[in-house]
């Protein structure tokens, strides 16, 4: 059974995959930039993507990252993929 996509769930996932929590902002909001704002390296980012796919039972596409600017955009993308899967 998949988990509902909400901001607290996503922020918990993000925090669990930060390579250096001390380098991340104290508060992660929908406006926090994904690139640069979270200080994630390539392996951490890949781990986060896999965790998102496992948690929400979705498949993110190769080009999905290109339009992402903020954590809110990422949440919207997760919802979009869930909606596509249910139709």
């Amino acid at each position: 059974m998949s988990v509902s996509p909400d901001l607290p769930t996503l922020v918990t996932l993000i925090r669990a995959h930060l390579p250096d929590p001390s380098a991340a902002p104290a508060e992660i909001t929908a406006e926090t930039p994904v690139a640069g704002g979270l200080a994630m390296d390539s392996l951490s980012l890949l781990k986060l993507v896999v965790a998102i796919e496992d948690t929400f039972e979705i498949c993110l596409e190769e080009g999905d990252g290109e339009a992402l600017r903020t954590v809110g955009d990422l949440l919207a993308l997760i919802q979009l993929r869930l909606d596509e899967a249910s139709t």
Partner: protein, 348 residues
């Protein structure tokens, strides 16, 4: 002092990367939702296939004890094959070897594999053995440097690397680090013979100098953690960044001590750590296109064989030597984090 010959040996169980991916998929299913993403990680390693110590189905029954026993059972004959080939190519009999350095990081054996080879090959009882464990991927370069340090004038030395990376595989570890490693590393052995009995004959490289480089406070960049299941890989995204950003100053200082620059190196013999590492090395040292072709070819053919890989690339380089007078640089990086450099020259 010069490299007289190299030898290589691969275990007989050969699988192409897609066959291995199919086998891994059955393990990943039920744990990870998008197994195609994990398959893409394996494809992105740009490895065409790998030789394994055991038939694929045998890995399902391995625990740490069985895996390590398999390591010993396979490492001894595979190591003997690589060493005998190198000695034969060098025109050296086992009895002539004065120093034998053995490097590995993928299995444990006491007595070490080099000691077990004493009972298999006609090596002398007064042979000075030097088993080195823990240097990881850097050990091919480091071992060559240590052999050259240890040899006295007139002596013959050999370096043997046996790495059976597949036997360290943690089937129950579904971490990304383990998945990345399981797509990249293969099994094999390689040996190099070094002679300190005169100038290098035409076509063979003189060992001019060696250099160790240590990068402080990088202990978690690469290595093993050990648990009841055996070896668990430590791998960070920092490896390609160190290759790109931190290797160059050490290389320039080393070459500068000989009045050389990176542009003076005709032949690079580089450990094929993985696509991002090779790209990092090429970018960081600003190498011309094709400079690392032999390393890319080795990666594509057999994967990353840890310490044996750079010696496989060296073997290929000996088969196709550059023109007389050319300089060469053998280099590898590994846990520590650290690098080892060996300056080579093909004499005129």
């Amino acid at each position: 002092m010069y490299i007289a010959a190299a030898g290589t040996a691969l275990p007989p169980h050969r699988y192409d990367q897609e066959a291995l991916i199919d086998a891994f998929k059955s393990q990943w299913q039920g744990v990870h939702h998008n197994v195609e993403r994990l398959a893409a990680i394996h494809r992105n390693a740009l490895v065409g296939g790998r030789n394994l110590a055991l038939p694929m189905e045998a890995y399902l029954d391995l625990d740490f004890e069985r895996a390590n026993q398999a390591y010993i059972d396979v490492a001894v004959p595979l190591g003997a094959e690589a060493l005998e080939q190198a000695l034969s190519r060098a025109g050296v009999s086992p009895e002539q070897v004065d120093v034998l350095c053995f490097v590995t990081v993928t299995g444990l054996a006491v007595p070490s594999i080099d000691a077990r080879l004493m009972n298999r090959l006609p090596l002398r009882a007064d042979l000075k053995r030097m088993p080195l464990f823990g240097l990881g991927c850097v050990a091919g370069a480091a071992g060559l440097a240590r052999v050259s340090d240890a040899l006295k004038p007139g002596q013959v030395g050999a370096l043997l690397s046996v790495e059976l990376c597949s036997l360290t595989l943690q089937r129950g570890d579904f971490s990304l680090e383990n998945i990345v490693a399981s797509g990249l590393f293969g099994d094999g052995a390689a040996a190099v013979v070094v002679r300190a009995d005169g100038e290098a004959p035409r076509g063979l490289p003189e060992i001019v100098d060696t250099r160790s480089i240590f990068f402080p406070d990088t202990e978690r960049v690469m290595g093993w953690d050990f648990g009841s299941g055996g070896f668990k890989v430590v791998l960070s995204a920092q490896v390609p960044h160190i290759a790109r950003d931190s290797l160059r100053p050490g290389v320039e200082a080393f070459l500068g001590a000989h009045g050389l620059s990176i542009d003076d190196i005709e032949r690079f013999v580089c450990h094929p750590g993985g696509p991002k590492v090779l790209e990092g090395v090429a970018d960081g040292l600003e190498l011309p296109d094709g400079a690392l072709d032999a390393s890319w070819a080795s990666l594509r053919t057999v994967g990353n064989l840890s310490s044996a890989s750079v010696l496989m690339v060296m073997s290929q380089t000996l088969d196709e030597p550059p023109p007389p007078g050319s300089w060469g640089l053998l280099m590898a990086m590994g846990p520590g984090f650290c690098a080892e450099l060996v300056l080579l020259r093909w004499l005129t």
